[in-house]
Symmetry: C2
Amino acid sequence: MSDAQAPEKRRAPAKETKNSKEGDERHDAIYRSVSDAIVEQRLKPGSRLREDALADVFGISRTGIRKILQRLALEQLVTLTPRRGASVTRPTADEAKDVFDARQLIECGLMPDVARRMGEKEAAELRDMARQERQALRSGQQSVAIRLSADFHMRLAQLSGNATLAEFVERLCSRSSLILAVYGHPGHLGCESHDHDDLIGYLEAGNGERAKAFMSRHLKAIEASLSMVEEEENVPDLQQIFGG
Amino acid sequence: MSDAQAPEKRRAPAKETKNSKEGDERHDAIYRSVSDAIVEQRLKPGSRLREDALADVFGISRTGIRKILQRLALEQLVTLTPRRGASVTRPTADEAKDVFDARQLIECGLMPDVARRMGEKEAAELRDMARQERQALRSGQQSVAIRLSADFHMRLAQLSGNATLAEFVERLCSRSSLILAVYGHPGHLGCESHDHDDLIGYLEAGNGERAKAFMSRHLKAIEASLSMVEEEENVPDLQQIFGG
DNA sequence: GTTGGAATTACTGTATACAATAAATATCGG
DNA sequence: CCGATATTTATTGTATACAGTAATTCCAAC
């Protein structure tokens, strides 16, 4: 992972500040680093994200960290509670339903456009992504597989040519990873191995309607694989006591 | 005595800072204030938003302003260019197309759900909003009318029960206001007066499919009313010179 | 041993100071 | 008088200091 090497506490030498990166890119890299960690479930829902700790790890001040956390909060990957700070969002069952309904509407609606704009190059790229995903899954790298699966859906949306809708899909896929982390069964990954390949086939054949129907079933299958029990990790004893 | 070198560091009237508001709500109020000004086109696309100026106007420091600007940037209402600061976004023709395609897909797709959840109270509320909009239009308050029109579409999406999609629609409507500001004809408002009332009728009757079709036409009509000429306010002389 | 409360601690919220850079302006050479 | 470069200025980027508040710990009393 992105090694924030020895946290040399000396941060003052302004002349040294500039040598490493444009500074702007650095922020983006850190954002992506945190975002990836969440999507890959290395940071689990509910984990607290303290500003000082992150600032130390990445070697920038809290100011920059706050900016990044705020962005993640707007994307609903982290939750910002007023005086408690940031933590990785733990999606509720309602939110999960909303997200999958939204994916149903948008991703399926995009399939005809994607089919229309699908060329050889795009198909090859997608097949490669699907291959990588299968490989990660086979070699037991579940975290990586989850992200690759999300990447696949995101790339698909980008190929529709509508940047705005692609951005929406991006957000929905990120949140889906969080949902899988909370409500998915450990051994059972969201996307079945062959689904993505089949989908590429329909799209490459220019069969938008078929792809649409397939995507609908695909998403339904993922959603159906979730076990929608709100685990109330806090004070569960109380209920047991009252029940008993 | 040696502590005499420590002058009274108090430089800010901290006691007065807190008395007025919770501080958190204040930020939200400022955010809404700026957002409304953009949506109502009192701040025109391209206008620069300097941090100091905003900080002065609202009586908070640049820190808070930056937070708000960043949020607006993520919603694509303002554009943040690296060392140039913030300005009200000027949507391109491509973006405009994307936004209206997205609205076409999402808002129309939501209509059946809205029709299903439509009750007396909701219909009455919508009718009231439509009435206010008509009134604003008649009394020449175009800015207010534009925002009320956007509010109508947003509220409609909320009634679908899907908070995630409602948020997407919210963003799309805000951006649409910007698009109208750039590409719309001055005297010609986006939403025709009677359209919204007609739509409520279909929804109240539970006729989701009819409402869907109507919404589609409604949005198409708005989009068709735009004149999609990219005014390249920058270096236009060059082309004219070379052409002439 | 548990509970209530006070003191401490840890953390976030906000403003400000300072550095860095791009834009605007002035200055000088042609 | 025009063009290129140096200087000044305006404005953003970042770190840090300080304040305020929630969480924790510790202590005493029952």
